[in-house]
């Protein structure tokens, strides 16, 4: 919530399609979506660097798969 700074972001066509699709689907502006992706990335990296593992579990909790974050 501190003062904002501006930067130019260069994206490929495919990346821009994904950004526009996700932003439209989730009701976020493209800026809000990129900022949220950055928060998510920091959140994940912080846990991985602590030695934690990141898993996805399917809805009925029968399968659990580790998400590799390199």
């Amino acid at each position: 919530m501190s003062q904002k700074r501006t930067m130019t972001l260069n994206l490929s066509d495919r990346e821009m399609v994904v950004l526009e699709h996700l932003a439209g689907e989730k009701g976020l502006s493209k800026t809000q979506l990129v900022r949220q992706a950055l928060r998510l990335y920091q959140s994940v990296v912080e846990r991985i660097e602590r030695g934690d593992k990141l898993f996805f579990e399917d809805a009925d909790k029968t399968e659990k798969a580790e998400l590799m974050v390199l």
Binding site: Q36, L38, L40, Q42, S43
Partner: protein
């Protein structure tokens, strides 16, 4: 550098008057100091007088071991957490951490703001005392979390796990009760949908 998000009236139950509280967009060292030197000793002194688990439960001090200072230090460079503090009468009256990387259990795939830790000063709580001081700290912090959710593009969507003594309060604020979360100490999980949140900020 933290900013004031404005001044809001709290009811002083002792004088039956209103006092202006300042809501800040981050916890600062003075708030952590207030927790360590004012809140915690008051809760520990109360705890020392209690004999049974039932008395402890009723005393409304389940957060006595929360480590606000550690969280304040560990999260100072994190962008996936925001924090808030309420000050009134020269002291910290409320503290809150909100995680901004979380997903709704109602609207799958939609982001929410998740209230990770929230407390009002012990002297404002029923149970801790028969004569609590300020009324309105909880709604002020809940409104701040909704506004944060709106500013992030989450339409006010919000989630939290409630401590047992707080479940009734969250129900009274209009949050949707999802139920006990087996992945989180069986604490009851609540959410504000976008519509719930809109109604809440309008009525507060």
């Amino acid at each position: 550098m933290r900013r004031s998000l404005g001044d809001w009236p709290l009811k002083n139950r002792h004088t039956d008057g209103e006092e202006w509280a300042t809501l800040y967009d981050a916890i600062a060292q003075n708030n952590v100091d207030d927790f360590e030197t004012r809140w915690k000793p008051a809760m520990e002194a109360k705890l020392a007088t209690l004999k049974t688990q039932e008395e402890v439960r009723k005393a409304n001090i389940q957060d006595v071991r929360w480590k606000w200072g550690d969280k304040y230090r560990d999260r100072s460079n994190r962008i996936d957490f925001e924090s808030f503090a309420v000050e009134c009468g020269g002291e910290t009256q409320g503290l809150m951490f909100v995680k901004t990387v979380a997903f709704s259990k109602i609207q799958l795939g939609y982001s929410i703001a998740y209230i990770d830790l929230v407390s009002t000063a012990p002297w404002n709580r029923w149970g801790f005392t028969d004569n609590p001081l300020y009324k309105g700290v909880g709604p002020l912090l809940l409104s701040a979390a909704v506004e944060l959710s709106i500013s992030h593009g989450f339409d006010g969507r919000l989630g939290l796990h409630a401590l047992p003594q707080s479940e009734g309060w969250y129900q009274s604020q209009g949050l949707t009760e999802i139920g006990p979360d087996t992945n989180y100490q069986n604490l009851v999980y609540f959410e504000f949908t976008a519509n719930d949140a809109k109604a809440y900020v309008t009525s507060n």
